[in-house]
């Protein structure tokens, strides 16, 4: 009798599913909506224990409004007017007042007090049911991106309904990537409750998958199977799969450190590269270099304040502006102070340090001593996902690219342009260059301006990474000098190598000993290195070295 009954139910259900399919494929939305409307009418009158089948029916209509309605119900914002039982989406504003919109048409209704409406009641079980139904609908969505997201979510938090529909959908899935992920979801399920052979097959599918859920499932399965037998095929396969995943995980961990290291290295490169010109090529110790970066960062801030509607382009506008601002200030410093201190590097150091103090105080007076907020444009946020455990954030990626761009354009200027030729000539032999009718004082000013301008550009990049405040420059000045000295003074390639090496070193040390200790160790290591090789990694050779 019971069997007969269940057969009957099954027949009814399959008829129902077939009817749904028919509805959806025919695209007869009109009909779906009328069904939906009639089903919804029952909502206010249905008791809690009869709610589940009704909601199932509502979901089965596949009308376009269904996800929104179910979400409203799940959030507990579905109400009906006591007067005419009209269903509304109510949002509490304040003082027991509610803003209403019609559930189906979304048309706004006059707001009412709490006494005029009544909530459609739900409980935890129903809310969970709705959640499952919703994810199931996402699995069926037309947009592949939504489907992929739904499968990913299912992998992290599996539910029976979702897995059932994945079993059905798997073979018909057109996108290979989604199909693969679906088979992973199914394999994880098999691993939980399957026969030995099924489990083995599942393990072979799961081997090499990097999703954290997969690893957890494998480890759990291994724990369960070791309780049974020690050396079974399954145990070996499981531990092999886990080993492989861990190996790959380690590999990507290293790649991750490398990426972070390179991005830190790029920041160092950006901040040191202007110094590589003023210090490395001209031999001027510019302690105000950090403040040139600070000026660049504040230029970005000012541009964002002046054009608040163009945040997306503000960085692009700030780059030339910061170059000009910092470059001009650099030229003024060179003309006003540094040229009187030629050949006295220690005095130059002191004088430029004084300038840095003045610039800091100037910024403090103009912009207040507090940090200023520089907005990040939309395109800087987000990340490029390579796989589930390894992703490259866009802002770091852009910093690396930007630093390399600045580096190579500077290299081009120095090696290919006539200005670069003059700069190198003056730095190698000032008197001879003057004899060949190069205006050495003009070249000095322009070179210093170029170095300072590049520091300003670095400031634009830094404004995206750190707080923009009067002390921004101070934090980087010691590091930048160390990078230049480490790389070898007067050698741009050395600066590149030094910056990247230091950045990577720092990031590889960081996980095991924390950022501060890593910083200290790198500093001490650098001090010892310079003692051993005072001329840095790539010392200049020949007469120019003297």
């Amino acid at each position: 009798m019971l069997r007969l009954f269940s057969l009957l139910v099954f027949c009814l259900m399959s008829w129902h599913v077939a009817a749904d399919d028919h509805l959806a494929t025919a695209g007869n939305e009109q009909q779906a909506e009328t069904t939906l409307a009639s089903l919804l009418k029952q909502l206010p009158n249905t008791k809690l224990n009869k709610m589940a089948p009704l909601i199932k029916k509502i979901a089965a209509t596949s009308a376009p409004q269904v996800p929104a309605i179910l979400e409203t119900l799940q959030a507990g914002e579905l109400y009906y007017l006591k007067a005419n039982k009209q269903l509304v989406h109510a949002q509490r504003t304040q003082h027991k007042k509610y803003d209403l919109t019609d559930l189906l048409s979304n048309a706004p209704l006059p707001s009412v007090t709490s006494s005029a409406i009544k909530k459609v009641r739900t409980n935890n079980r129903i809310r969970r049911q709705i959640g499952d139904l919703l994810s199931n609908m996402e699995l069926n969505a037309k947009d592949p991106a939504i489907r992929l997201e739904a499968v990913k979510q299912l992998l992290d938090s599996p539910n029976k309904v979702g897995i059932k529909s994945v079993t059905l959908l798997h073979d018909n899935e057109p996108q290979s990537k989604i199909r693969e992920l679906m088979s992973v979801v199914l394999a994880v399920e098999q691993l939980k409750a399957g026969t030995e052979a099924e489990k083995l097959a599942a393990v072979s599918i799961l081997t090499g998958r990097l999703e954290p859920a997969v690893k957890n499932a494998l480890v759990k399965a291994l724990d369960n199977s070791t309780a049974l037998s020690d050396k079974s095929e399954l145990t070996r396969a499981l531990s092999h799969a886990i080993d492989k995943i861990e190996q790959q995980g380690d590999l990507y961990q290293i790649a991750d450190h490398l990426f972070f290291g390179l991005s830190l290295g790029s920041v160092l490169l950006l901040s040191a590269i202007g110094l590589a010109i003023t210090f490395g090529v001209m031999g001027v110790i510019n302690m105000a270099h950090g403040e040139m970066m600070m000026l660049g960062a504040y230029t970005t801030y000012v541009i964002q304040q002046t054009f608040p509607t163009l945040i997306e382009y503000s960085l692009l506008m700030a780059i030339p502006a910061a170059f000009v601002v910092s470059g001009l200030v650099g030229i003024i410093i060179e003309r006003g102070v540094i040229r009187f201190l030629k050949g006295r590097p220690l005095e130059t150091l002191l004088a430029t340090f004084g300038i840095s103090l003045i610039l800091q105080q100037l910024v403090r007076t103009i912009f207040s001593p507090l940090n200023r907020q520089v907005e990040a444009p939309q395109w800087m946020s987000g990340s490029l996902d390579i796989n589930p455990i390894f992703s490259l954030t866009y802002n770091r990626l852009y910093i690396i690219l930007f630093a390399l761009m600045v580096f190579f354009s500077l290299l081009m200027i120095l090696k290919k342009s006539s200005l670069g030729l003059h700069v190198r000539a003056v730095s190698q032999n000032r008197d001879m260059a003057r004899a060949l009718s190069i205006k050495s004082s003009w070249v000095d000013a322009i070179t210093f301006g170029l170095g300072s301008g590049i520091a300003g550009i670095a400031g634009v990049a830094l404004s995206q990474l750190t707080n923009v405040g009067p002390n921004l420059g101070q934090a980087y000045i010691i590091d930048s000098f160390l990078v230049v000295v480490f790389g070898g003074v007067g050698n741009l390639w050395g600066t590149l190598v030094a910056a990247m090496t230091l950045g990577t070193f720092n990031k590889f040390l960081e996980p095991s000993m924390g950022p501060v200790l890593a910083n200290i160790i790198v500093l001490v290591g650098l001090i010892l290195f310079i003692q051993k090789r005072p001329k840095g990694l790539f010392p200049q050779k020949g007469r120019a070295a003297e």
């Binding site: 220690l346 103090l357 007076t365």
Partner: protein
């Protein structure tokens, strides 16, 4: 004035006698006026002024230390604040242990911050910090050892000029970062503070403050005398020669590295002493003392006062510190402008500092052989390296 300076006895006096005489006179004056003139009378020197002057004298000793290496040996150290702070920490550790069980947590053995970090016993490097003699030794050994290690590494491999300056700056920066760490066992961010008494005398009492001021004056006089004798000895001549032409000194057969390390260590010890005297007078030592900015400020005292003359360093330290006290009280905004301007102007216009200006004035009053041991200005040809 003219006749006074030409008086034979006075003409024979060297700067050493002058400095010690002035120090003695002013210390006597401050002591007498603080003790015997009632508050409110014209001649009274307040307790606040006494501790302020004590601070200035510590700075003067520190400036003297920097002048020894920079003015006489051409080593521009941008990390002397580290030696000062190390000396201060040695003193601070001793003072910390003197608190005993009067701390917030009442632990007789451990300082408050260690109790707070749930430490159960003193770290090994705090052993002996209870002992006065040990503390006094550590005030000199701590900075001296660091200077020896750093100096012998750097000077043997002939790191010099700007590179050395940047290295010293990196050194103090590394120490700054390390002392900020709680795990170091030096109180982390907050440093060592809440001291109660020194040698069983309360640090709050005006008499102790006066005694500390007098002790600082004596230490400064002693430090000055030591520096004076070093610089007027044969060794001082070699050191000055290293500053002016290191290569030639080497060719003559001296080992410049040895002399440099030696003067660097002496200078670091003086700085440590200054730090040790400074801490009980201000009542706190924290990692901020390691900050590179502090070290550069010392250098500017020497530059403003006039490097290459010992008394110049003293003048610079006291004048600039006094200006800082006044400026930060009247218009704090302007202090960094003023300090920055001082850097620029003193390097551009006063290469020999205030001492050079003083010499010029004295020479105008009575032309005589000035006894400056060397010219602060170096020949440009040698300097370019």
């Amino acid at each position: 004035m003219n006749t006074l300076l030409n008086y034979p006895v006075l003409k024979k006096l060297s700067s050493l006698h002058w400095v010690i005489a002035i120090l003695f006179a002013s210390t006597l004056y401050v002591t007498v006026c603080n003790l015997f003139f009632a508050e409110g009378t014209l001649l009274h020197v307040s307790d606040y002024t006494v501790s302020l002057l004590g601070k200035y004298l510590c700075y003067a000793l520190l400036a003297l230390a920097v002048d020894l290496v920079w003015g006489y040996c051409g080593i521009l150290s941008l990390g002397h604040g580290a030696f000062f702070a190390l000396g201060g920490y040695a003193m601070g550790m001793y003072l910390m242990r003197q608190i005993g069980d009067r701390g917030v947590y009442g632990n007789p053995e451990l300082p408050d911050f260690m109790v707070f970090l749930n430490w159960t016993e003193l770290p090994w490097y705090w052993a002996g910090s209870n002992n006065v003699l040990f503390m006094i030794v550590m005030v000199f050994v701590g900075p001296g050892l660091l200077a020896y290690l750093f100096g012998s590494l750097a000077f043997r491999s002939r790191v010099s000029g700007v590179y050395l300056s940047i290295m010293t700056q990196a050194m103090t920066y590394a120490l700054l970062l390390s002392f900020f760490r709680n795990e170091m066992g030096f109180g982390g961010n907050n440093g060592l503070t809440d001291f109660k008494e020194i040698f069983a005398y309360s640090l709050q009492s005006p008499d102790t403050k006066l005694a500390l001021f007098v002790a600082t004056a004596i230490a400064l006089a002693a430090g000055y005398a030591v520096s004076h004798f070093i610089m007027n000895s044969k060794m001082g001549r070699v050191i000055t020669a290293i500053r002016d032409a290191e290569d030639r000194v080497r060719f003559v057969g001296y080992q410049p590295a040895h002399f440099k390390v030696w003067i660097f260590v002496v200078s670091a010890m003086l700085a440590g002493l200054a730090g040790a005297l400074y801490v009980p007078q201000v009542g706190i030592i924290n990692p901020g003392e390691f900050s590179p900015l502090n070290s550069i400020e010392i250098v500017i005292w020497v530059a403003v006062g006039g490097r290459g003359t010992l008394y110049g360093a003293l003048i610079g330290a006291v004048v600039v510190s006094y200006a800082k006290t006044r400026f930060t009280a009247i218009m704090p905004e302007a202090w960094l402008f003023a300090l920055g301007g001082l850097f620029v102007l003193s390097t551009l216009l006063l290469p020999k500092g205030l001492a050079g200006l003083l010499d010029k004035l004295l020479n105008q009053i009575s032309p005589r052989q000035t006894e400056t041991t060397a010219n602060a200005e170096k020949p440009a040809a040698v300097e370019v390296k």
